[in-house]
Symmetry: C2
Subunit: 104 residues, 2 copies
DNA sequence: TTCAATAGTCCCATATTTCCGAACTACTGA
DNA sequence: TCAGTAGTTCGGAAATATGGGACTATTGAA
């Protein structure tokens, strides 16, 4: 098994965050996670069911490495949450300003 | 000569804007253009002088096609401006929220 | 005019990144 | 022990970025 890589808050970069959110699918994942509030598994947060598993896994890795989400393994599934406070501390107002405009 | 391609305001997409700004060099270009206020040539807005011309030209094309800047040809050089009002009408608060955190 | 200089664009080969099927791992419950 | 579930990893194909070099358009000078 692999330990998930999460950058420290201060290592989160603006361009990294923008790059992670510049993909429609990842944007929808983050939006879904925020709307839920609770932790969500990867498949639960997936924007559409027919997306290949490996692609989905890849998107979550990118979000994780950009510092946008935190992932922990719980039983057979992953629990994902948006690192809302970390992002807000590092880039106040950014996440809200972006997600305000994200379509459903 | 080629006529520059500029999307209509309503064709500007959120993910397109984020993708365009997710490159450190392009972020610095936009920041420089906004700080200047006036039109700037490509080389004047370039973040560093040693950057290859073709790469710079490519970055400006990406910013242009994302709807972030408007380019017109004036004599031997290009005049670039950020389409600030278009972006602000389409995605209120976005540009400011992003550039607030851009280094430099 | 013609010529050189300047500012960018276009083309194209290389390098990097993304996508996704298939095989694999980790955990759970029967 | 075994099957099922949730995700990861691998690897090849497809897409995209980089940058050198040739090209175009404009200007200013001889």
């Amino acid at each position: 098994m692999v330990q998930f890589v999460h950058p420290a808050r201060d290592d989160i970069t603006l361009t990294g965050v923008l790059a992670a959110l510049s993909d429609p699918m990842r944007l929808r994942i983050v939006k879904a996670l925020l709307q839920e509030g609770e932790c969500m598994s990867c498949t639960a947060a997936a924007p559409c069911p027919e997306i290949p598993k490996s692609t989905l896994s890849n998107h979550f890795r990118i979000l994780r490495e950009a510092g946008l989400i935190q992932t922990t393994k719980k039983g057979v599934e992953n629990r994902n949450v948006v690192r809302e406070s970390d992002i807000n501390l590092r880039f106040p107002g950014l996440l809200k300003a972006i997600l305000k405009h994200a379509a459903e």
